[in-house]
Symmetry: D2
Subunit: 199 residues, 4 copies
Amino acid sequence: MYFGGDWLMRRFNIPDSEFIRGKVPMTKEEIRILTIAKANICPEDVVLDVGAGTGSLSCEAALHAYNGQVYAIERKAEGIELIKANTEKLGIGNIKVIEAEAPEGMEQLPKLNVAIIGGSGSKLAPILDKIDGLLVTGGRIVLNCITIQTLSQCLEYMRQREDYEYAAVQVQVSRWKQVGPYDMAEAMNPIFIVTCVKK
Amino acid sequence: MYFGGDWLMRRFNIPDSEFIRGKVPMTKEEIRILTIAKANICPEDVVLDVGAGTGSLSCEAALHAYNGQVYAIERKAEGIELIKANTEKLGIGNIKVIEAEAPEGMEQLPKLNVAIIGGSGSKLAPILDKIDGLLVTGGRIVLNCITIQTLSQCLEYMRQREDYEYAAVQVQVSRWKQVGPYDMAEAMNPIFIVTCVKK
Amino acid sequence: MYFGGDWLMRRFNIPDSEFIRGKVPMTKEEIRILTIAKANICPEDVVLDVGAGTGSLSCEAALHAYNGQVYAIERKAEGIELIKANTEKLGIGNIKVIEAEAPEGMEQLPKLNVAIIGGSGSKLAPILDKIDGLLVTGGRIVLNCITIQTLSQCLEYMRQREDYEYAAVQVQVSRWKQVGPYDMAEAMNPIFIVTCVKK
Amino acid sequence: MYFGGDWLMRRFNIPDSEFIRGKVPMTKEEIRILTIAKANICPEDVVLDVGAGTGSLSCEAALHAYNGQVYAIERKAEGIELIKANTEKLGIGNIKVIEAEAPEGMEQLPKLNVAIIGGSGSKLAPILDKIDGLLVTGGRIVLNCITIQTLSQCLEYMRQREDYEYAAVQVQVSRWKQVGPYDMAEAMNPIFIVTCVKK
């Protein structure tokens, strides 16, 4: 077996195979690892995960914020069920699930140390405005962008904000599968990860 | 500032800029994050870092194995100095530096939970044999391969070992630099990361 | 030697090493090959190359349009000199060089079958408008985008034009260099190639 | 329609959509373009395509060698049928199809100017030996490698041959698909293209 549970003791990455997925697209392991690492989550942090999907990012964030709290916003009922199923499977108790389409559902949130945006529908700017109102100085926003339009909107937004600095990377992972005597590439789609720090 | 110290409390990634580097090539941040994540290091683990270079992987491993021990083998005197300088700068106390060309210098090592191979000179097979003799069941070997020959030797070795399973990924990261009003790509060299688990 | 002249007889790609370059950035061989291939240049075609730089794309276009004409627009004097030097070196006679910053310098152009945009400064939309006024039905515009902003502007422009269809690809090439007994990757920056066909 | 026929007059790339494919894997457009370009095929050349599959590379080679001859070796009956169907559809008359598993079927071949190896089964070295016996000085072998093992064998073979020089590139293409208002990446598997020139 690739790796075994006991998550609350060991705060390293959870492999894709550990998550219940259904038909909801899930952030792949390597992207999840990099996203969480760039979020620099501390034990007491309050973290928001927008467009939580299966909750895979929320779950890993919750393991790093083990004395803190994670809020997971997801608009689809199927996603909500999967997040609950995955938190239960992994024995994670510090995730609050909010069924809403962001920026809705953010009214009651406390101050945030970290916001992760895995999906933004078509409302990135209002979501970023809402997050900015809650984010502490030194806080971070980490976005996974899979479309040129979302990436472009994110860069445009951050370029207009002198109180933020950002770093963008594109990550392309290929998994080399064992097929008989050969190792053959299986390309995964490239993702842009934008890390924004509030000054 | 991109991010601040206090490493022993917060076990997340250390950015490239925090390391003293000299002319020794250093594993880049994203590759270091993925390598450490795939190594699944636990607090009490004993970790070996072969071809430690600047010690960047050793330092991050040491933060995860905060109740354990890291052994860093490096053949170059300049590397040895850098590893010592970096551990001191980061306030890391659980790294033992061994100046040798692996597989030499491994005679006195205890049982290992994890071995990281950043550089193997031209002696990968004997290094893997030596590690295998020390590695516990369920232990991991994570290799960063930057040449086709090292990758090929690694895959060939692991395919002959029925007591290991491996997963290989290739990671290509491009950093999108802010140049005036534009974001322009700066490609980093692709790396193969091979994760081997002893059954 | 990697490959020898006589270009007018053989219409295949010209390696980077054949071009005089100076300090002007040059489209790399693999990107040039794909750009020219996607431009589908016919022997009698009239081709425009905007932001011609060293003229490497103009020269290859001229070999395909061997009974046609290529117009190369470049704003920098150094570029103009390089284009002239390269056409002379390769014995190409069907390139007219225009020293101007596009869309300036396009007033006198005839109908175009193909337009290649290697560089657009910050004036992509007006350049595309000007090209559209000259481009025949079934004609093509092929853009090389190295920034997210240029790519985004290009996609936004084409999405508003129902009389164009486009296909965008991102190409990442790594050259594996022979270093002693090893083959090591040297990553080249990723490029977006957008092919637009006028319906 | 993306682009129209009349191949014998215009020697540019044929899009994937023009080929009849069945279930046989086909070299994708961008890889085909680069492979053919690096083969430097001249009008009178004799070209061998080993592991021809659907014949897509054979067909493009035949358009460049329009006064020459292409020999396409393929072991699978389905492939043979597809090659014949594609040559007929495109009106190409200078391809001879050989149903055999290379290096078998190469006995009767004349001197070769170019050899393209799209698939080598597990017999790369004997195939390269056979090709070497037929290849003229200055002739080229261009290989598409999709496995680490084939790539590694190819590099090892060429490193032992002082009468050849080679250049290896890895190409990763992502197609950005238009999905509603977004452009989303669809990664294609990375391919290694090795170009070998006989000195």
